[in-house]
Symmetry: C2
Subunit: 665 residues, 2 copies
């Protein structure tokens, strides 16, 4: 089935990779030389994509989880006809190029996910496969399959050592994601040397324990065997599949089969050796025309045809089930239904409710109006209050259900959410205790880097957790996420701010949003209601100003549960004839984006007596209180005890706040 | 073998747990009711500890990885004669009690590790077992076994879902840690409901794939079967063992076998039901004297005897191999040899070297002088430069070697380091790229919370990484760790600061130290040398002041690689007759601890023109530059390209720094 031209094709992937790396004098030659055959076979015969319509919604997805093999992916995309020229390959790893050091989503046409941090590509692939099943269950009606594609991933030994590979694979096995096919580039070598220095699992047994199908290809250069294994995997529709392809890292190079060939460019002598092994005689960056032709005849024509057929299907859907068709269009475009806000609640003064409870109410309201919304928890739904009560649990037997049980797998949850968002067609949220956001952190970073609109519902947001103690009490988390680029952190202060925070999250499509919510009750703030949305969107606002007939002495600045405390302190100070305003700061990031004029309005330049209140670390609060103000926070770990006693211990009582304020000079 | 008294003992563990939880009106009754039998059997017949000498160095270690079962552990410790009174149990989950919500190391006598964040207890147990093998290989000489104990852990379904359970178990299997025995409380229920909502692995197959021995006990109340299984596990000295004990969560309660009994106190009716099932008639917090007696006769006498025997062995060791005996004493006490600093290098002006390279030199020097130092990398030793060149790779066949190959398992690496530190007897370091510290973060937090003196060598510390691009370029990491309580972050600016940073790390025994090191060369700073150690220990110091005959205009404040940039900018500003000092801030935390006078000396109060330079996020730098200064940093993700171009893109050139400074008002 494969012929000389295909051999040329495989070697073209290898040679372009090596040449890109050599020109950049930087990169990883080992993986491309070993894994080019499986990648070529996948693209040639299996991957249904259309290089001229790369965002075709029902295309197959491919993720190179071993992102250090970027040169191979770029070479393959180039040969397959994607918008990636030889010029681009020559600019490998250069500033502002379309060929950055690791694959970057949104930068490189045909790259479906940003990879490099090991294991996460697999996690994202699981999310993509989940999205496909869920969308298929929602939109494949009247016998029309508008959603029916595979998700492929290529992983290396490093990916499978990472803990997230366990979480993600276990979840995929549980969900019986039959359209997920993983190619495992098994070469017995990792960066530091032979893999058996630190790794000697039985991968077959391990993946079978998760409920996966396992196959093994003994010779990573055997195109027919690889092809057959992928076909077998596709035919197994009830289990995810892993194909262990035995390869030689750096195949053809002088140090083939060793770690020396993993991550540094080959020297000239070594380049010559590879060329000789591969019988490659063309000048650098030249590829035989037959190779382009072959991939055009196979992948190119197949993709174009399937894409065209799909368009007809969508037309049929629109005709036969217009309501579903309309919703499908909205979903594909990432748009919310026009009336999505309608069921959102408003809370009146006098109400007091934990923000996680308000969030639960909001999720019910959104769930009704926004069919593309789904989400879940890492086995804490009953505490995070993230269950959609009208829905069942998403499972192999109930794919249209909108509650996802991620299991105690926070990292895979966050990575799968990235995959779901990358896939498109739904809006996803995930939850856990705020303190365990640490477990998700590497994936939240990738969400931010990829500008993905995922929503994290992170409850139990401070030492007010109480009895569970320091292992369960976030301290540094708020400021640590405020430090992460392109993340929007929202810590609402009352039920109305919580509704507004959810609104902000739903309309924020350029990056992830963290909703940081309380376990304990929060009273509705004065002056709240429908206006809160606008105020929260500005990131900070004056909740209660000084009376008009008083001269402002200072400002109390607070977030979340501490805003009510600030109001109480304000009242007590007023009784002593000290007039301070109270500012709520639901989001540092949103406030940062406001005009200088607005910022000065909230925090007048001339007022230096500023006290911030937040149940978290203080480093960073100087941005608002300056060197003359003071940040009241917690710079140690928390404590186990009843909530009220813990708060008192850390100085978060009205009297202590008043005393702290009065001590300011 | 077990009799009525033992049944009473098991039920005493259950009842004390329930009563503690009821009194606190907070806690997790599900696990204690199900897992009390295995815990009781372990303590009664297997765990070699001495309640009257709880720090006996060769004791067995037990970690309750499922830390929410704290009430059970406290009840067991109380019955076994540890310093934990009935009064303490009555204060369960109260502020400043000896019985916090989750087990806390250092707070509760007999608690070997702080647990609660799932999966990490298993990771720490692996580290403890590693420490035991390594110490045994170093100090068991002349036929005297001063180190010969087991490490036990109790895990639940949640622990095994977490990714770290994969990393840790795979590592343990690879290292053939035959003295590690894990009890798996297998009850088919997790917080949100039946486990099969999200988890249906074949645990036997999975652990066998890692090279573990697997056993199953069908009835979690069958004390003899549990006892036999633990004995079998102990007899298998070539593989770590996991024993799946099938239990009923909340055994005896009305909602036994469901998630309703997991995490909330039982109501009075339910308490009555349990008492009836268990045939328990005593008043609250009362235990039959025979139970105390039984545990004293078994665990108590066994432990006291073994402890006494061990002391004799140590005496023999001191006599027969005095040098090794002396070193063993030092190691047990966590003391360094007197001459540990002697081989440390000093660098002269004119030298330029990456701090990761200097660190490599330091590791060689320390390796020679400090036999208890060992460490490794998560498969990046060749990049992190953490290899001790005179040593082999620690493995089952070479247990005395001091290079640890953790594999691509950053989280397990960090958790194992915690276990190694908790065990005592060695000093451990671990490494990876700084950006992947995110993967370790939950375990770094537990190191800080437990005050463990572990050292992280985190290289490739900024966008100066260059070609690898944003997935490999830390941005928010520095400030995020500065926000974590009890962590000391050091980012040295030159080779001498790097040596000093290592010195600080080695002498800091109250918490973890992060050494944040460069990939690229750093020139030796002026005025450096032997004095650098004192300066670095202060956290910040004036590298180069304004000339005496000039009036100071401002301050350039920098860390790491940016200090040399600040010096170049200082020179250029001087040429324009603008006199600024340059301050190096290797550590925010250490500077924070200095006197106000010293702080004012470094950052004079009257000088408001302050520019900070750091290749990381700016939020937090206001602590030093105030509202009038400016922080030059990077608040977006990085970019892929040659290092110099990337630095220029982000404004880190002499000209741009000078321009930024001159723009200050």
């Amino acid at each position: 089935m494969f012929d000389k031209i295909d051999e040329l094709g495989v070697n073209a992937v290898r040679m372009l990779s090596l040449q890109s790396i050599a020109k950049a004098n930087s990169g990883h030659p080992g993986l491309p030389l070993g894994a080019a055959p499986m990648t070529y076979v996948l693209y040639r015969n299996h991957l249904n994509v259309n290089p001229r319509d790369t965002k075709w919604f029902d295309r197959d997805r491919f993720i190179l989880s071993a992102g250090h093999g970027s040169a191979m992916l770029y070479s393959m995309l180039h040969l397959a006809g994607f918008d990636l020229s030889i010029e681009a390959l020559k600019n490998f790893r250069q500033l502002n190029s379309k060929t950055p050091g690791h694959p970057e989503y949104g930068v490189v046409d045909g790259v479906e996910a940003t990879t490099g941090p090991l294991g996460q590509g697999l996690g994202m692939a699981v999310g993509m496969a989940m999205a496909e099943t869920h969308l298929a269950s929602q939109y494949n009606v009247n016998g029309i399959s508008v959603m029916n594609h595979h998700t492929y991933a290529l992983v290396g030994d490093g990916d499978l050592m990472e803990g997230i590979s366990h979480e993600a694979a276990s979840l995929a096995g549980h969900l019986r994601l039959g359209k997920l096919v993983v190619l495992y580039d098994s070469n017995d070598v990792s960066l530091d040397g032979p893999k058996n220095r630190s790794f000697n699992e039985n991968i077959q047994k391990r993946f079978e324990s998760y409920g996966w199908d396992y196959q093994r290809v003994e010779d990573g250069n055997d195109l027919n065997a690889i092809d057959q294994a992928i076909t077998n995997a596709e035919n197994n529709t009830v289990k995810p599949s892993i194909i262990e392809v035995r390869t030689v890292i750096g195949y053809g190079a002088l140090n083939a089969g060793t770690n020396k060939v993993h991550g540094a460019p080959l020297c000239a002598e070594d380049m010559a050796a590879v060329k000789e092994t591969l019988n490659w005689t063309l000048p650098d960056f030249e590829v035989p025309a037959e190779v382009y032709q072959r991939l055009n005849d196979t992948l190119g024509q197949r993709g174009a045809k399937l894409d065209a057929q799909w368009l007809l299907k969508v037309t049929s859907l629109n005709k036969m089930a217009p309501e579903i068709g309309t919703q499908f269009q909205l979903a594909m475009n990432g748009k919310l239904p026009a009336d999505w806000r309608e069921a959102l609640p408003t809370y009146l003064a006098g109400t007091s409710e934990a923000s996680r409870i308000t969030s639960h109410t909001v999720i019910q309201a959104l769930g009704k109006k926004v069919p593309q919304l789904w989400g879940g928890s890492a086995d804490l739904a009953s505490s995070n209050k993230t269950n959609m009560e009208c829905e069942g649990l998403y499972s192999a037997d109930n794919l249209s259900a909108r509650n996802i049980g991620f299991g105690v797998r926070e990292f895979a949850e966050a990575a799968a959410m990235n995959g779901i968002a990358l896939h498109g067609g739904t809006r996803v949220f995930g939850s856990t205790f705020f303190v365990f956001s640490d477990y998700m952190r590497p994936a939240i970073r990738l969400a931010a880097l990829q500008h993905l609109p995922v929503i994290y519902v992170l409850t139990h947001d401070s030492v007010a957790v109480g009895e569970d103690g320091p292992t369960h009490e976030p301290i540094e988390h708020l400021m640590s996420f405020r430090n992460m680029p392109n993340v929007t952190v929202l810590r609402p202060a009352d039920p109305n701010e919580t509704v507004a925070a959810w609104e902000t999250a739903m309309t924020h499509t350029d990056g992830p949003t963290l909703l940081v919510l309380s376990r304990q009750n929060l009273a509705v703030l004065p002056g709240a209601g429908h206006e809160t949305g606008h105020k929260v969107a500005k990131g900070a606002y004056v909740v209660q100003d000084v009376p008009e007939d008083k001269i402002q002495d200072g400002i109390l600045i607070a977030t979340g549960s501490e805003v009510n405390l600030a109001l109480a302190a304000q009242a007590k100070l007023a009784a002593e004839d000290v007039a301070v305003s109270v500012v709520s700061v639901p989001s540092f990031e949103l406030f940062q984006q406001q005009s200088s004029a607005y910022k000065r309005q909230v925090l007048p330049t001339g007022i230096h007596k500023r006290l911030s209140l937040e149940l978290g670390t203080t480093l960073g609060w100087e941005r608002f209180v300056g060197l003359e103000g003071k940040a009241l926070g917690i710079d140690t770990f928390g404590a186990s005890g009843p909530c009220g006693e813990v708060l008192e211990k850390f100085g978060f009582t009205v009297d202590q706040v008043v005393a702290q304020y009065l001590a300011l000079e």
